[in-house]
């Protein structure tokens, strides 16, 4: 069955709420502004309206309410809206929820899910375009999910709402919500398992969230240039599937990491370092990052285009690696 990512997401929330009466929704904007998303979520509002709270613009209060509800035994899903708004909730997301389990000696677990529509969405300018997975990945105790495909949206949301015992940040991406993909709903694949979406011999392209699509496009462009690229979809940055990453890196000997974080101290840096530390001898060249430039995201489309991760830039980096221009 082919569905849009937002339909897979709405379906997961609906099915999970049907199975577990402790799931509550704080906020109701999960699909963003598109009418397709509104339509996809209608069954959730119709059936579970009594477990959906209408909210004020209070990210801090909502994130804390979600955390407190999880401490007391519910399984809340908190809508933190546009990705950059998570900064308004930062004290609760990074300094309350993820600390409790450890800080209380294992007494309190916090199965709350923070939903955040993150990433560079186009014309969002500097304050509505953040990719936060690198920052969040630096917080022990948080799960950081970066779905790319419709299947990822379904699997990871089902896992968050039904299985997780930890606080998770579900980093949705505005540019992915309307993308179509295959969906099967018999079992759901938990985080920490990267997916090899395309096998190849010459170079590994590592993507997460929106950059997975760009890696797939890049792999196709590389094929036309005679280069065989493998594409790894991380699905989550915490936990990070190091085994799959290293396996692919060892097979191809070359790695390009496509990451929407700013280049410096972003998730890509951590992944590159991990591969370099553990697979150094099998690599033909150092891992390379293709990341967002270290500038606040500019508004004007031609300016924005210059600083973001594109398939073309991934191709260019891969060709440089394969042709030995970088070594």
């Amino acid at each position: 069955m082919k569905v849009r990512a937002v339909e897979a997401l709405a379906r997961a929330i609906y099915e999970a709420m049907e199975r577990n009466a402790e799931i509550i929704l704080l906020g109701d904007g999960f699909g963003g502004l598109s009418p397709v998303a509104r339509e996809a979520f209608r069954p959730v509002w119709d059936k579970f309206g009594d477990r959906v709270m209408t909210v004020s613009i209070s990210e801090l209060g909502l994130a804390g309410a979600g955390t407190g509800a999880a401490l007391a035994g519910c399984r809340p899903l908190v809508d933190l809206s546009t990705g950059s708004f998570i900064f308004q909730a930062w004290p609760q997301v990074v300094n309350e929820a993820p600390n409790f389990y450890y800080m209380t000696g294992g007494q309190s677990c916090v199965p709350v899910t923070f939903y955040s529509l993150a990433g560079i969405r186009g014309a969002g300018a500097a304050q509505h375009s953040h990719a936060t997975h690198g920052m969040l990945g630096n917080v022990p105790g948080l799960r950081v999910l970066v779905p790319a495909t419709a299947q990822d949206f379904y699997d990871l949301m089902m896992w968050c709402l039904l299985e997780s015992q930890d606080p998770s940040v579900f980093l949705s991406h505005a540019l992915l919500l309307l993308e179509e993909g295959e969906l099967q709903t018999d079992v759901w694949n938990p985080p920490g398992r990267a997916a090899v979406l395309r096998e190849g011999m010459d170079v590994t392209l590592v993507g997460m969230s929106v950059t997975v699509l760009r890696c797939l496009k890049a792999a196709e462009m590389l094929r036309e240039r005679g280069v065989s690229a493998e594409v790894v979809n991380l699905r989550s940055v915490v936990p990070l599937d190091v085994e799959t990453l290293l396996g692919s890196a060892r097979r191809t000997g070359r790695v390009v990491i496509a990451d929407e974080c700013h280049r410096t101290f972003g998730a890509g840096a951590e992944i590159a370092a991990t591969i370099a530390e553990k697979a150094w001898r099998e690599l033909k060249a150092p891992p390379v990052r293709v990341a967002t430039a270290d500038v606040p995201i500019p508004f004007s489309p031609p300016l924005e285009e210059r600083v973001i991760v594109t398939a073309e830039r991934v191709v260019e980096a891969a060709l440089e690696l394969c042709e030995g221009r970088r070594s």
């Binding site: 804390g64 407190g68 007391a72 450890y102 000696g105 309190s108 015992q165």
Partner: protein
Amino acid sequence: MTPELLLGLYRQVCRIRYFEVAVERLIHEGKVRGLVHVSIGHEAVAAGVCAAMAPQDYLLTGHRGHGHVLARGADLYRTVAEILGRAAGLCGGRGGSMHLVATEKGIIGATGIVGGNLPLALGAAYTSLVLRTGGAAVAFFGDGAVGNGAFHESLNLAALWRLPVLFVCENNEVAEFTRREEHTRVARLVDLARVYGMSAERVAEGADAVAVYEAARLALELVRGGGGPYFLEVTVRRLRGHYVGDVRATRRGALEEREIEKWDPVLRTRRRLEDEGMRKDELDVVMAEAEREVEEAVERALASKEASAVNVEAEVYA
């Protein structure tokens, strides 16, 4: 009020006082590390409010929370062991003074961030409704929290959603080192709560555990009865610095002798109980028992094992 209840209040006030004095001593002896905020002067708030709480209620405390967890029934030995960072501590030594949690007593959260526990109380209260426990969530904080955005978001959402939350503001008129009139122009904090749409009352004599208890019982009855959130401002005096060893505290000046009588919860509560007809020798016995209980627990905790670092990387994820 029954004599048992009255004696119970006095017992808690004394336990907390002896506990806090013991903690101060442990700090001065170099046996406790880190910043520790004792609640000397606030004992009657913990005693009074916790006595009015029901078993199914949730408690969320903050950095000055020793008294709250003791009054709520957390094991005294394990509480002091936690402050010492020992393996037998409530949290195995991972939390320390500002993170005293005992989930089996409904103490589900303790945060060292001023204002951080107010939003948590919203979720706990909402959970009481979803799970139909009939309980309420009680959040303790000081007047310092009113300058924090979390305070305002929480009051607004609690009122909007009509949640069963009791906000207990222990107003000691000083936020860390800054006097109330230097950190807000709002002189009556209950006014803030009322504009958000909730009931609010002030206990003028917060050193009197009986007065606090009566106000908290009434508040919790309304909260549990579906009346929405309630804001209880309790006026107290912090009889020590912000933390143990606070050199700036002296700038505030000590209370005068006749004021001590009014603001010291041990003295004030005792006088109230004597006025209620409680016998002095009975009260003396309760006080002596409290002292002995604390001293025995402290001794036991000092003799207990240090926390082991073997599992320091375990239990980051559940």
